[in-house]
Structures are given as C-alpha cells and as structure tokens.
C-alpha cells in the first residue's frame, strides 16, 4: 500500500514539475530571436463565430502577402501574429487582450468585430499604450475609449441614418417595427440612431420589441409585431438571430421585408435563414463586384487560399492588417532607431513604449489609403468616413442594391 502511494506521489510530483516547466517555456519571450509580435482577438467559436474566423482569414491573407513581398519581414524582423479566441464573450475578450499584452508582449492588436467585445478590449490597450485597430466595430463609443484605438469601418450613427433613409426613400415605407438585441451594444445603439432618423424623416415606429442574443424562439415578439401590422421590420442584430427571426417571421405569415445592418454580414446568414431571407436588405461595407483593384487582388488571393468568397468582415480585417504593416514599414524606413523598439527583445522597455507611441502616430495619420473595402482616411477621432452599400437578398443570393455616400 505504502509503496503504491509513494509511486503516485512521485508521479504527481513529476507532473507538477513538468507543468511548471511547460508554463515557463510558454510565457514570456519564447525564443531568443528578435521578431515583431502582433495580437488578434476574435470570436473563433460561439454564436457569431464567422466574425472571428473571417477576421483571422483576412489577417492571414495580409501575412501571406507580406511573406511573398519580403519573406514576412518588416525592417529585418519577422512578423508573427498571435490569435486568441474570446468565445464571443466580452469578459473573455478583456482577459485575452490582457494576455496578448502581458504574456505575448504584442506591439499592436487587431480586433474585435462585435462592438461589445471591442469596448471590453479597448480600455486595456489604451492603458498599456498598445495601438488597437478594430476592423469592423461600428459603435461610436469604441474609438472614444482613447487615442490608441482606431477602426476601419463606418459608424453606427451614419449606418442608422442610411438604414432609415433607405426604408423611407428607396422602399417608400412609413410604418416599421423595430426589433433589437438588448444584450448587444451594437444593436441597442444602431436601433436608437435608426429610430431617430426614421421619425425625423416622417416615419413611425409602430412597435418596438427586443430579444437577447442566444435566444432561440422569437415567435412571441413576432406575434406582437404582427398585431401592429408594420410595413417592414428593422432588425439591427447579428446574423444567427437574424436568420432564425427571418425563418420564424415567415412561418407566422409575416411577409414584409426585414432590414438589417452589417451584423448580418456572414456566409451563415443564408444557411440559417434559407429562403426566408429573400426580400430582405442589409447595410454592408462592400459588394464583391466593385471595380476596386485592391479588392479584386484581395479576392483572388483569398479565393486561392480558402476556396470560398470572403465576407466584408474579412476584407476589413485585411485592411486593418495592411494599414498596420504599412505603418510599421514606414517607421522602419523613417526612424530605424525607434523601430527597433518593436522587436520582441525590447518588451517592457522604454524603447518599446516610444516605438508603440510612434506607431500610433503613424496609424492616426492614415490618409487616402486604398484598402479592399474602399478609401480610408482617419479623422481626428480615428474613424474613417466610408460609403455604405445596401445589399438585397434575392433568390437566395446577396446582390448589390445601392451605394450611399456619407
């Protein structure tokens, strides 16, 4: 008996030692060689998993391009991306950003798509003086978190206006229902902006209903909407719920158009919603048939790598990564001494601080950058002004409807 216990103790002891060693190896500066580490966080799993997956793919295409151009190096240092999964939860987003900064010692962060999660990650990047570029968070509050926070997409006040005007002017609607996700910062703000504009332009929101992300059944809300007989439903939520709601709305005999925002942009929208999405519209960042050489180049590279079409979320992530790489290249060319601070061997030093500060200034100065999603010029609030493309779903396909410039 005692000998068996002894064996077990030895085993347990050696396990602990092994774990401790593994822990040491994983954390901190993992290798002796100098490199540039950038971080990326997103929802690789969870209810809106295509957001994180598309972002990851977009950044991968940008990295491949860098490999083809300069063996993946900027200023002689190899660029490496660390990707973290936040499972679609804001609290998880905060902890993975913390990990990226403290353990991986990243010099810049790309992410998130969902505004709720960007809002959780942004204050941490700001505190640590690490530039964060959100490819596709449209909530105005995201870049208000501080001067190290940037974005590559338009804002929700503009998106809300466009959705309302599109309903009134293009579709000729007067009475709509609003159905928002109360657990989602993006949805709450977008529905507010959209309602304001819709009422200002002479329309009425006849009924307002809400749901919580993750809900499965929306029949009760849709039945209440049906009783008020609106001409359309405005649904500023994410694609999973949009698909389920579309399906259940048709089931209850609601045949009117449903209008959404860029949260609908996912290959899964039509998989979930199926034929129910026909006759619906949503605001998006691009349409694939635009004659933009940068977009067409990205499309070719993306299709060759993933054998499928990218969504706009992937395109924005590609733009975020290329803007970041461009600024690093510029820093390497203009100020090699400061640039050296981005190397992994300088983590935690004053040189690193000076380098990320300089990197921030360069990103903030981005002007007339031709990205895959259009021309990007950051204003003094670190936001670009970009046109919105309205997409219509017709016959199970997403087609270009109209473009509305700011």
């Amino acid at each position: 008996m005692t000998s068996r216990w002894g064996q077990r103790l030895t085993l347990a002891g050696s396990l602990i030692v092994a774990l401790a060693l593994a822990g040491c190896g994983g954390g901190g500066s993992s290798s002796g060689k100098d490199e540039i580490v950038i971080g990326e966080y997103g929802s690789l799993t969870g209810g809106d998993a295509t957001f994180g997956q598309s972002t990851k793919s977009g950044v991968e295409v940008a990295l491949d391009e860098l490999t083809a151009k300069s063996q993946g190096k900027i200023g002689g240092l190899t660029v490496r991306a660390v990707v973290e999964d936040d499972q679609g939860k804001p609290e998880e987003a905060a902890s993975v950003v913390q990990k990226l900064i403290n353990q991986d010692r990243v010099v810049a962060v790309v992410g998130e798509v969902a505004s709720s999660r960007s809002l959780a990650g942004a204050p941490i990047c700001q505190q640590n003086g690490i530039p964060m570029i959100s490819p596709s968070s449209t909530n105005p509050d995201v870049t208000r978190k501080g001067d190290y926070i940037f974005r590559m997409c338009y804002l929700d006040d503009f998106q809300g206006q466009v959705m309302a005007r599109f309903a009134i002017q293009n579709l000729g609607l007067k009475r709509v229902a609003m159905l928002k996700d109360v657990k989602n910062d993006y949805s709450v703000a977008l529905s507010k902006f959209c309602t304001e504009e819709f009422v200002k332009d002479g329309g009425t929101v006849v009924v307002e209903q809400s749901y919580s992300s993750g809900d499965q059944d929306f029949r009760a809300q849709l039945t209440a909407i049906k009783a008020k007989n609106p001409q359309a439903i405005i649904l500023p939520g994410y694609y999973t719920e949009a698909g389920l709601i579309g399906r259940q709305a048709r089931e209850l005999g609601l045949t009117m158009p449903i209008i959404g925002g860029d949260g609908w942009e996912s290959s899964k929208l039509l998989e979930i919603g199926g034929d129910a999405m026909n006759g619906c519209y949503y605001a998006n960042h691009w349409s694939l048939d635009e004659q933009n050489p940068q977009l067409q180049a990205f499309l070719t590279a993306y299709r060759a790598k993933f054998k499928s079409d990218p969504d706009a979320i992937g395109g924005l992530a590609y733009d975020a990564a290329t803007v970041l790489f461009g600024c690093m290249e510029k820093l390497a060319a203009e100020d090699p001494a400061t640039f050296a601070g981005l190397g992994s061997s300088k983590a935690g030093t004053e040189a690193r601080k000076a380098a990320t500060k300089k990197l921030r200034d360069l990103i903030a100065a981005t002007a007339n950058y031709q990205g895959a999603t259009g021309l990007i010029t950051l204003d003094e609030n670190r936001n670009p002004k970009k046109p919105i493309v309205m997409i219509a779903v017709k016959g199970g396909k997403k087609v270009f409807e109209t473009r509305i410039a700011p």
């Binding site: 969870g46 109360v182 809400s210 809900d215 009760a220 089931e251």
Partner: protein, 300 residues
C-alpha cells in the same frame, strides 16, 4: 384577441416540449428521489443524434416522412442507450450512498456531457437540416399554426399518451409504480428493482431525445450548451406540477411554456428566463408539493 390566441398556440407548443423533458425528471425522481441534472444534456444529445442521422440519410436533399420518423426513432434509441450507460456507470455505483452523493454525481455527469459535447461537436452552433419545410395553416381570425408546431404537438401528445399507457397498463409500469412506493417492498414482491430503475432512465432519456429533435426541427440552431436552460426550466415545470407526478409534469410544462410566451409577448423578453424562477418561488411558497402533487404523508 387574434394576437392572444396566436401567443397561446406558441405557448402550448413551447410548453409541450418542456413537458416532454419534465417527464424524464419526474419519473426518475418518483423512483429514485434523484434529480437527474444531466437530463437537459440528454436532450441536447438527442438533437445532435438527430442531426447525424439526418445527414446520414440525406434527409434534407430528399425529404420524406419515413426519414423524418427514422431520425426521431434513432435519436430516441441513441439517447436511450446513453441513459442506460449513465445510469449503469454513474448512478448505480452511488445508489447506496447518501442522496447528496447522487446529486453531485448528477451535476458531474451534466458537466461531462456538456464539455464532452463541446470537444466532440465543437463550440460553434450547428444547423439542423430543415427536412420538413415549414408551411402555415390559417385557423381563422388571423391565427396561424405551422406544420412544425403541429408535428411538435402531435408527436409529444402521442408520446405522453404512450407513456401513460406504459405506466398504467403494462407489467413494467405496474412495477415502476411499485418501486416508487418502496424499493424494499417491491423487491420483496419479486420485482427486480435495478432493472426497473434502468428502464425508467431509458424511457426518460428517450422522451428527452424526442424533445431535442422536435425543437431542433423548429429552431435549427443546436450547440452543446443548448440543454442547460430548457433542462432547468423543465425541472421547474416538474416541481410546479408536483415532482414525481406524471400528469403534473405535463401540466407544469404547459403552464411554463404559456407563461413564458405571454411574458415575452406582453411584458419584456428580458423576463423570459426570470418568469420560470418566479413561478418556482411562488409555488414553493404557496403549495410546496406542486399543483398536482400529494403532500408527503407523515410516516410514524
């Protein structure tokens, strides 16, 4: 009025699903005095088994009623087996220990199934093939019912009637009732208590599997954690109706479903999950034995 009737139909459909799950809780409790917390996860497994069989038979590409029945049947058999395995390897070894040990084991099994499912199926939601295309039937006054809602109602009512038949009119059912009175007395009468307990688990798991497939048919998003909330709510439904009481579980399920839909439709959807627990607190205050439950007799 039309709106109210429509909400009522939505509520009854939702409620009949809760009732199917609640039956499993209540049967196991009736016989073992054990709250089988893993029951909601068996419901989740039912939906996933259904998904695999639907993919295997290509039910979506070429739908027919036979395949739909096969999906339901095989999901039920699969979960019946899972129920058997859970009972044999998790609960039987601790049956002679304290009730607390069994309860903790149940929580352990529940976590195992959820996270095992996460490992096996992945965390991102899967989409259940829609092999029965939705169609609406007008019932007059602007009220509609979809064929999927009808299927849920018809299948769950027939399963509940089937269960009633088994419990009241078969030898196994008689034995179940005897075991729920007293394990010792039943054993003295020559009933194999172990076998009846296993039978109850298998039966309950099959009903949960049916609920999983039916729900997935209507709301095609399925994921490993989907059983937690419905499981909890069905448990509340079982307590509401009087835990251990079979008609009580059905009544409790319906009350829960209707209450939930009405709260979402007329108050606020943020109350959807709260209403279940408000009902639980109310019933525990007013009538702790549940709507149809017998107050426990004082044993001297």
């Amino acid at each position: 009025m039309a709106e109210f009737l429509q909400q009522l139909i939505n509520g009854i459909t939702q409620g009949s699903v809760y009732a199917l799950i609640a039956l499993g809780y209540t049967m196991v409790y009736g016989i073992l005095r054990l709250i089988n917390f893993a029951h909601g996860d068996v419901y989740m497994l039912g939906a996933f088994f259904g998904l695999f069989i639907a993919r295997l038979t290509r039910a979506q590409a070429d739908p027919n009623p036979l395949k739909a029945a096969a999906v339901l049947l095989f999901a039920m058999i699969g979960c019946g087996l899972v129920g058997f395995v859970i009972e044999r390897f998790a609960y039987k070894p601790v049956r002679k220990s304290s009730r607390l040990a069994a309860l903790i084991t149940a929580i352990g099994v529940s976590l195992l199934l959820e996270n095992g499912g996460m490992l096996l199926f992945g965390a991102d939601p899967k989409f259940f093939p829609q092999f029965i295309p939705a169609r609406q039937f007008a019932l007059g006054m602007g009220v509609t019912i979809s064929n999927q809602q009808l299927i849920i109602l018809v299948v769950s009512i027939s399963l509940m009637l089937g269960l009633r038949f088994i419990v009241l009119h078969t030898r196994a059912g008689k034995a179940m009732r005897a075991v729920s009175y007293s394990h010792t007395a039943a054993a003295l009468m020559g009933i194999s208590v172990d076998r009846i307990i296993t039978f109850t688990f298998v039966l309950g798991s099959m009903l949960a599997a049916a609920a999983g497939v039916l729900v997935a048919l209507q709301n095609p998003k399925i994921e490993p954690y989907m059983g937690i909330m419905p499981g909890l709510k069905a448990f509340v439904a079982a307590v509401l109706g009087g835990i251990g009481n079979i008609p009580g579980a059905v009544l409790g399920g319906l009350v829960m479903g209707i209450a939930e839909v009405m709260v979402v439709g007329y108050l606020s959807p943020t109350w959807r999950d709260a209403i279940a627990f408000v009902l639980l607190i109310l019933i525990l205050l007013v009538r702790p034995s549940g709507l149809l439950g017998q107050p426990p007799a004082e044993k001297v």
